[in-house]
C-alpha cells in the first residue's frame, strides 16, 4: 500500500509568536520555521507502517512557497521515500489545500492519506475532513491508534468523552492526534540521504483547481493582557461587582 502524508511548514512551536505591527498577520520574517508537530506524527506513523510492512511507499506532500521544500526534506529524512511540492506563493486556506491534495491523491492513488488533525498556526482542523469529502473517502480524525486488517483500518479516535474506535474501508483519510506516536529524530546520515531523494515540483497554478481565498482576515491582534485582580470586602460587594461591572449575573 502506498501512503500519502501531507505536511505543513509552520512557525516552530518553541518560538514566541508576534503579531505584525500592521495587524495583517503574524511575523514570519526571520522566524524559525519547522514542520507542524501534528504532521510530524503523521510522517512517523507512515514510516512505521512501512517498517512494519503494511505500507511499501511513503510519499510526502506539501503546498506552499519554495521554503516548504525544507519541510519536505525533514519528512524525507525521517523516512519518506519521495515528495511532491506544490509550489505557490499564494495564501492557502484549508479548502484550497484540500483541493490541491485531491489532485495529488487522484494521481498517486494511495491506500491511505494521513495528515495532522490541525496546524498550530491557524488551528483550522478542516483540511483532512474537506479532503475526505472531496475524494468521497471515509475519514477517521484525531487518531490515537491505527490497526490495519483485510483492506480496512481500525482507528481509535480521541473524542470528548473518551475513545471511539471506527472501522474504515480503505482508501481513507486519517488525521493524527498527539498520542498516536512519538516522532523520531532524523539522524545525520538520513538528513544527507534525504537530499538525494526526489522532490517533484508542481506549480499550483497548473493543477486546475481554484485556490483563491474564501475567508478575509480583517485584523490579527494579541489576546488581551490579563489585568490584575482586586480584593473585595465581602460577598455583597462581590455580587455587586459581578452584576454591575462584569455584567455576568442578572
Amino acid at each position: 500500500m502506498k501512503v500519502l502524508v501531507a505536511v505543513k511548514r509552520t512557525i516552530d512551536p518553541n518560538v514566541k509568536v508576534r503579531v505584525k505591527s500592521d495587524q495583517t498577520g503574524v511575523e514570519t520574517a526571520n522566524v524559525k520555521m519547522a514542520m507542524n508537530p501534528f504532521c510530524e506524527i503523521a510522517v512517523e506513523e507512515a514510516v512505521r507502517m512501512k517498517e512494519a510492512g503494511s505500507a511499501n511507499e511513503v510519499v510526502a506532500v506539501s503546498a506552499g512557497a519554495d521554503k516548504a521544500q525544507e519541510t519536505l526534506r525533514t519528512a524525507l529524512a525521517m523516512g519518506a521515500d519521495r515528495a511532491v511540492h506544490i509550489v505557490t506563493e499564494a495564501e492557502l486556506q484549508p479548502l484550497a489545500v484540500a483541493r490541491l491534495l485531491k489532485v495529488i491523491a487522484d494521481e498517486e492513488q494511495p491506500g491511505l492519506v494521513i495528515m495532522g488533525k490541525q496546524a498550530i498556526d491557524d488551528d483550522s482542523n478542516q483540511t483532512g475532513q474537506m479532503l475526505a469529502a472531496l475524494l468521497g473517502w471515509p475519514q477517521a480524525t484525531f487518531a490515537s491508534e491505527i490497526e490495519f486488517k483485510d483492506g480496512t483500518a481500525d482507528v481509535t479516535r480521541e473524542i470528548d468523552g473518551g475513545l471511539e474506535t471506527l472501522n474504515v474501508n480503505l482508501p481513507a483519510v486519517v488525521t493524527t492526534d498527539l498520542r498516536l506516536n512519538e516522532p523520531r529524530y532524523a539522524s545525520l546520515p538520513n538528513i544527507m540521504k534525504a537530499k538525494k531523494k526526489p522532490i517533484d515540483r508542481r506549480e499550483a497554478d497548473a493543477l486546475g483547481v481554484d485556490i483563491s481565498p474564501r475567508l478575509a482576515i480583517h485584523k490579527v491582534e494579541e489576546p488581551p493582557k490579563r489585568e490584575a485582580g482586586i480584593k473585595v470586602a465581602d460577598v455583597a460587594e462581590l455580587v455587586a461587582k459581578l452584576r454591575d461591572d462584569a455584567k455576568v449575573i442578572g
Binding site: K32, A186, S187, N190, M192, K195
Partner: protein, 601 residues
C-alpha cells in the same frame, strides 16, 4: 530564547555570519552540503539537547554511577541520553557517507557537540571518548582492529575509554608502570592499574574498548618507551561476536564534584593474568598515536567549558527576566509592583559579563574548529599550513581560557539566582560543579600555559605567534574606519604591541639561561594572550553586527546585534583593560612566585 541552554540565533550568527562556514560547501568534501543541511545538523543537536539531555542531566547528577557486584550501574535516564546521541549519528558525523557519516565539517561538528555539552557535558563525555578512540583506531589501527573495534565504536554499540593516568602517575606519563608482555600469539598480556578512567565501566554498551598506555619489557625509559594497546572489556571473537570477560576489574569508583553522569574508575588489568591486549601502531610509539588526537580533544574540552558557561548564562537571563524583586533605584514607589531583576544595574552587569565571556569563549573554540577545517580541506597548501600554525598557538588557549573564565561566568549565574542558585532546585550549581573539571583534565591549565609559552609561542622562531598577530592586525585594519569600533581597534592594537613586548622580554630572560623565571608566569601569559585573542574575536563579531545594523536589519533582530556591540564594548573596556597589570608583570619577568622557598608556605 527558546532553547534552555543556548541561543540558536547566536550559534547561527557565529557559524555563518562571522565564520562564513557555509563557504565550506564549495570544497570537494562538503559539496553535498548547503546551509540547509548544516543547519539541520545544528537543529538536531539543539532538539536532542533540549528534549532529552537537559531533562536527564539532573538525574545523572543526583544518582551518580554506583558499583554493584563489580559492575558499574548508570541510571536509565543516562542510557536514554547516550542512545539519543548515538542513534542520531553524532559519533560518526565527520566520516564518509559510505561509512555511516555525514561528512560534517569540523566547525559544525564542534558546534553540535557543544550544544550537547551545554545540556549535559558529563553524558556527552561518553560520546567524546568513544569518538576519540574510534578516530585513533581509524588512523593507527590494522584492518582487523578497525573491523572488530572501530566500527562498533562509531556505531555506538561499544563505548570507548582513554587509559593514560595511573594512581601515582598523572601528568607525567613517562613514569607509568602498566606492563604488556607478548603472549606468543601476536597478542599481549597486560597488567597494572589505571586511574581516573572516565567511562571505565558502565552498563550502557554491550562492550567497552579501552585504549591503554603500557610499557613493553624492552621499553626504553621515559615517554619514548610507551606503547598503545586495545583492551576490550569482553574479548571479541574473529566474527565480531563477544567472547569471555577479559580480566579487567573495577577496583573502585571516584566520587566527583561534578561531571557525575559519566563513571570515573580505578581499573585493574590482568589481576588473573588473563588480560588480552592488542598493540596499536608501532612498539614504543604509543604517545605519538595518542597525541595525534590531542588538538581535537583539547578544543573539545574548551567547547565544554564555553558551553557549560553558556548554559549558565542562558538560565541566568531566563531567571532574571522572570524573577521580580525590588524597585528601580530612581522610582522606589512601594505601591508599584516589584520589577524583574534584569532591570537592576548590577544584574545587568553580571549578565553582560557572562555574555561577553561565554560568547567570546564560543567564538574562540569555533574559530579553532574552523582552522581545523582549513588545515584538512583548504584547497590552497599555504592556507592549510597557516591554519595549522594558527591552531598550534590557539589550541592551548582554547583548552584553558574557557575553563578559567567561564567558571567565573558560572559563578555569576548562581549569583543572579541569589539563594535559589545555591540550591539543587536550580541547575546553575550543577553547571558550576561540572565546569570545574575542565581546568583540570586533558592537560591541566598550568600545563597548557607552559605548552603555550615554552613551546608554541617560541617554535619556529615565533612563527605561530607572528601569524596570530598578523590575523589580529588584519581585522583591526578592516574595522578601523567604523566609528562604533575605532576605540576598540586602538585598544587591541596597543594590547598586541604590549604582549609582543612581554614575549620578547621573556625570551630575553630565557636566552640568559633564566629558564625557570621565564616560565614562572606562564598561566598569566595564557590568560593575557587569551584575552587579546577573545577581544580580537569580539571585534570580528562586532563588525558583523555593525554590518547587519547598517544594512537595516529587521526590527526584532535589532536587539540581538546591539547586544553584540555592547558585549564587545564590555569585553574591551572591562576585561581587556583589566589585563594591563598582568601584562606589566609579564614584561618585567616578575619572580614573586618563583622566588618562594618551599618552606615559606
Amino acid at each position: 530564547m527558546a532553547s534552555a541552554v543556548v541561543n540558536p540565533r547566536d550559534l547561527r550568527f557565529q557559524l555563518f555570519d562571522v565564520l562564513g562556514s557555509d563557504a565550506l560547501c564549495a570544497r570537494a568534501r562538503y559539496r553535498d552540503h548547503d546551509r540547509e543541511s548544516l543547519e539541520a545538523a545544528l537543529d538536531l543537536a539543539i532538539q536532542i539537547a533540549d528534549e532529552v539531555l537537559w531533562p536527564n542531566a539532573p538525574i545523572g547528577d543526583r544518582d551518580e554511577p554506583r558499583l554493584e557486584n563489580g559492575r558499574v550501574r548508570v541510571p536509565s535516564a543516562i542510557h536514554e541520553s547516550v542512545a539519543a546521541i548515538t542513534d542520531a549519528g553524532f559519533i560518526a558525523a565527520a566520516l564518509d557517507y559510505d561509512r555511516g557519516g555525514m561528512q560534517l565539517p569540523a566547525v559544525l561538528l564542534q558546534a553540535c557537540l557543544g550544544v550537547l555539552k551545554a545540556a549535559d557535558t558529563a553524558t556527552a563525555g561518553y560520546l567524546m571518548l568513544t569518538k576519540a578512540a574510534a578516530n585513533l583506531l581509524d588512523v593507527h589501527g590494522t584492518d582487523e582492529q578497525k573491523r572488530l573495534y572501530m566500527e562498533p565504536l562509531y556505531a555506538g554499540r561499544f563505548l570507548g575509554t582513554m587509559c593514560l593516568s595511573e594512581p601515582d602517575v598523572g601528568s607525567s606519563l613517562g613514569d607509568i608502570r602498566c606492563r604488556a608482555v607478548p603472549a606468543g600469539d601476536g597478542t599481549y598480556r597486560l597488567s597494572g592499574s589505571k586511574m581516573w578512567i572516565s567511562g571505565g565501566d558502565q552498563d550502557i554498551s554491550e562492550n567497552i574498548v579501552h585504549l591503554v598506555l603500557a610499557k613493553l619489557p624492552d621499553a626504553p625509559p621515559g615517554v619514548k618507551g610507551i606503547s598503545l594497546f586495545i583492551v576490550p572489556k569482553f574479548r571479541v571473537n574473529a566474527d565480531g561476536t563477544l567472547g569471555a570477560p577479559n580480566d579487567v576489574a573495577v577496583a573502585g569508583l571516584n566520587h566527583k564534584m561534578g561531571y557525575r553522569a559519566i563513571s570515573n574508575c580505578l581499573l585493574s588489568f590482568g589481576e588473573n593474568g588473563g588480560c588480552e591486549a592488542h598493540l596499536v601502531g608501532a612498539p614504543h610509539a604509543g604517545l605519538a598515536c595518542m597525541f595525534h588526537m590531542m588538538n581535537e580533544a583539547r578544543i573539545g574540552v574548551g567547547i565544554s567549558g564555553a558551553m557549560i558557561g553558556y548554559a549558565g548564562y542562558t538560565q541566568a537571563v531566563r531567571y532574571a527576566r522572570e524573577r521580580r524583586q525590588g524597585r528601580p533605584v530612581d522610582n522606589r514607589d512601594p505601591t508599584q509592583p516589584p520589577v524583574p531583576i534584569v532591570r537592576h544595574a548590577d544584574v545587568k552587569r553580571m549578565l553582560l559579563k557572562q555574555k561577553a565571556i561565554v560568547e567570546g569563549a564560543l567564538a574562540l573554540c569555533l574559530t579553532c574548529a574552523r582552522y581545523l577545517d582549513d588545515m584538512t580541506t583548504a584547497t590552497d597548501e599555504d592556507q592549510r599550513q597557516r591554519a595549522g600554525l594558527l591552531l598550534d598557538i590557539l589550541t592551548p588557549i582554547a583548552k584553558a581560557w574557557p575553563a578559567e573564565f567561564c567558571q567565573e561566568a558560572n559563578s555569576l549565574a548562581i549569583q543572579v539566582h541569589g539563594g535559589y542558585g545555591y540550591t539543587r532546585d536550580f541547575p546553575v550549581e550543577r553547571l558550576y560543579r561540572d565546569n570545574r573539571l575542565n581546568a583540570i583534565h586533558e592537560g591541566t591549565n598550568g600545563i597548557q600555559a607552559i605548552d603555550l609559552l615554552g613551546r608554541k609561542a617560541r617554535s619556529q622562531d615565533g612563527a605561530a605567534l607572528r601569524a596570530l598577530m598578523e590575523e589580529i592586525r588584519a581585522d583591526i585594519d578592516a574595522a578601523r574606519d567604523l566609528p562604533a569600533l575605532a576605540e576598540h581597534c586602538d585598544a587591541l592594537a596597543a594590547a598586541t604591541g604590549e604582549i609582543e613586548g612581554a614575549t620578547a622580554a621573556i625570551g630575553a630572560a630565557r636566552a640568559e639561561g633564566r629558564i625557570g623565571d621565564s616560565l614562572a608566569n606562564a598561566s598569566l601569559y595564557l590568560n593575557a594572550l587569551g584575552h587579546i585573542v577573545v577581544a580580537w574575536l569580539w571585534l570580528r563579531q562586532a563588525r558583523a553586527a555593525d554590518d547587519a545594523l547598517r544594512q537595516g536589519a529587521v526590527t526584532d533582530d535589532d536587539a540581538f546585534y546591539r547586544g553584540k556591540l555592547a558585549a564587545c564594548r564590555y569585553f574591551f573596556r572591562y576585561e581587556l583593560a583589566g589585563m594591563k597589570p598582568a601584562i606589566a608583570l609579564l614584561a618585567r619577568v616578575d619572580t614573586t612566585c618563583a622566588e618562594m622557598d618551599t618552606n615559606m608556605f
